[in-house]
Amino acid sequence: MNIHEYQAKQIFAKYGVPTPKGLMAESVDQAVKNAEILGGPIWVVKAQIHAGGRGLGGGVKLARSIEEVEKLSREILGMTLVTHQTGPEGKLVQKLYIEDGADIKDELYLGVVLDRAREMPVIMASTEGGMAIEDVAHDSPEKIIKVAVDPAIGFQGFHGRELVFGLGITDPSEQKKFIDFASKLYKLYMENDAEMIEINPLVKTGSGEFLALDGKMGFDDSALGRHPDIEAMRDISEEDADEREAGKYGLSYVSLDGEIGCMVNGAGLAMGTMDTINYMGGTPANFLDVGGKANAETVAKGFEIILKNPKVKAIFVNIFGGIVRCDRIANGILEATKLVDVHVPVIVRLDGTNAPEAAEILRNANIANVIAATDLADGAAKAVAAAKQAK
């Protein structure tokens, strides 16, 4: 789960990580009031959406008067912001963050993520703040300092020294402030089961203070149960409605832009099914893992979500029944076709436990647009052919 910048900064403040003063607004009036409370003389009006690259997309602007705050708020609130992370459809701006302008001397980067290879959190820092870190990693990887912290010992002095010397911070009082900043960030990463934190830029002010000018945080979904305060920060308007609806039924769904709807059990087989469709000359319309408990209700829900997409020309149901018996799934599919109007060909491949019985059930039901397949390759080929025919 991801949160907004203003929410990340609330968490930062709780841990004593310095940020500029700021207030969230959901209307232009509120934005103006916030600006008056903050007092100026310079404000930053920032679009709050769950995506990076807001500045380049025109969602972050500087205001030098209250009138300008009002004008910019009116422009940004309600705009559809397109950045390199939103996709071409962009994201609607529903919240603003009005923040004190900062006296920026240097722009740095600081983040914490899980290093999967080392199996511990790694603090990443760079002097190249304000740029996309992916680009820095690609063009000049030597400019990223990585310090892995073993949670068994926590953040130690040497971790801090590696960071400040790596960044070329030489003033002892600045060194102390930066190390304190990084150690607090590590602490809040661990204590909140964060998946990633990114501060880009982290600025050094003219007076040698370090401030988190931006703040991005993502959390481990599996750990949200023990962080009700974080769960309460969830903004469902930032999430894909279909993915969310699917999640309620234990389905894992990701929409893609092809023509063949996929319904599969297991994440790996679901990806493998998409890959096979692609290999055979078709295009997958979605990733959908129905999980280990596929039944009539979940299959019906799956059909419903897949068919919301008008591009879908055929559906490939690919189930390898293990503990779940195929005959039960076959009956589930039949029931589901009664619950939902399935108007495109459905190619069904059921393999594994009780597969012959399942084939028999489908044959006897003799539904016009349900086509049986013998294995993965056969099913994918039939689905690709059906989608082509529908054109």
């Binding site: 899980l114 999967r116 750990a223 990701v254 059990n265 790996g268 990806m271 998409m274 890959d275």
Partner: protein
């Protein structure tokens, strides 16, 4: 021969009397797995599925001599269960539970390694030595005995791969579902040398997916140390970047961990890489015919 587990392996179940634990322990017993007991706190001294129940793993190990534990406890108790098993001298913990927090697994795995305990999973189907010992939730009947070893991040692709291998007239020595979480126990790099050393295994199927770099590490290892033929499939060639595909670890982040880079690394290491899981069986038939 086989790897890690066989017909003599003594297994206990943590979370023995729960719904999932009971159901799958019963299936494992029916398969022939030597499940010698289980652990459920406050139910020690009772019997379940004809086997003794203990309050602690220490008690269970002391009485039964079990060396492997199959873990079915709820997600937030997984780390505790793994560390208890390690502390009690269990040699291998097979963690089936899905949804354990990453921070918990980090600590639990580090502790397990310190105690010399191997782990498989979490969020995996388990391990099976065909026709001898099934420790997990996979459908036993598709795994016919044979000379192909299988390592997979995905449960259903394990079944798909094993099924194809068997339909081609071959069989499975041992299949290990390693799970698709960001932090997992035994991975390709630790399992490949076990299959290399196992005289019964003549070829290896390796099924990976997007996210992380375990497959890249495996490719480097194969290039240097593996002489047996390896067939690989990497799921998620058509997955969009930055989207999590079902498994917690299956995500291309910052452009790293793509299927394309993993496939290229494996190919460069001499692995036969197939672009669709539908080709796994045929590819195994090819590499074994060449031998």
């Amino acid at each position: 021969m086989s790897i890690l587990v066989n017909k003599d392996t003594k297994v206990i179940v943590q979370g023995f009397t729960g719904k999932e634990g009971s159901f799958h322990a019963e299936q494992c017993l029916a398969y022939g797995t030597k499940i010698v007991g289980g652990v459920t706190p406050n139910k020690g001294g009772t019997e379940h599925l004809g086997q003794p129940v203990f309050n602690t793993v220490k008690d269970a190990v002391a009485t039964t001599g079990a060396t492997v534990s199959m873990i079915f406890v709820p997600p937030v108790f997984v780390a505790d269960a793994v560390m208890e098993a390690a502390d009690a001298g269990i040699e291998l913990a097979v963690i089936i539970t899905e949804g354990a927090p990453v921070r918990d697994m980090q600590a639990a795995k580090a502790y397990a390694m310190k105690h010399g305990m191997k782990t498989i999973g979490p969020n995996c189907p388990g391990i099976i030595t065909a026709e001898e010992c099934k420790i997990g939730i996979m459908p036993g009947m598709i795994f016919k005995k044979g000379n192909v070893g299988l390592i997979s991040k995905s449960g259903t692709l394990t079944y798909e791969g094993a099924n194809q291998v068997c339909r081609e007239g071959f069989g499975i020595s041992t299949a290990v579902g390693i799970g698709g979480d960001p932090i997992i126990g035994l991975s390709y790099k630790q399992l490949l040398p076990m299959f290399e050393a196992d005289p019964e295994t003549h070829a290896i199927v390796m099924i990976g997916e997007i996210g992380g770099d375990l497959e890249i590490q495996a490719a480097a290892y194969i290039k240097e140390h593996i002489t047996k033929p390896v067939v690989a499939f990497i799921a998620g060639q058509t997955a969009p970047k930055g989207k999590r595909m079902g498994h917690a670890g299956a995500i291309v982040s910052g452009g790293a961990g793509t299927a394309a880079e993993k496939m290229a690394a494996l190919e460069a290491a001499g692995v036969k890489v197939v672009v669709s899981p539908a080709e796994i069986g045929k590819a195994i038939a090819e590499v074994l015919a060449k031998k």
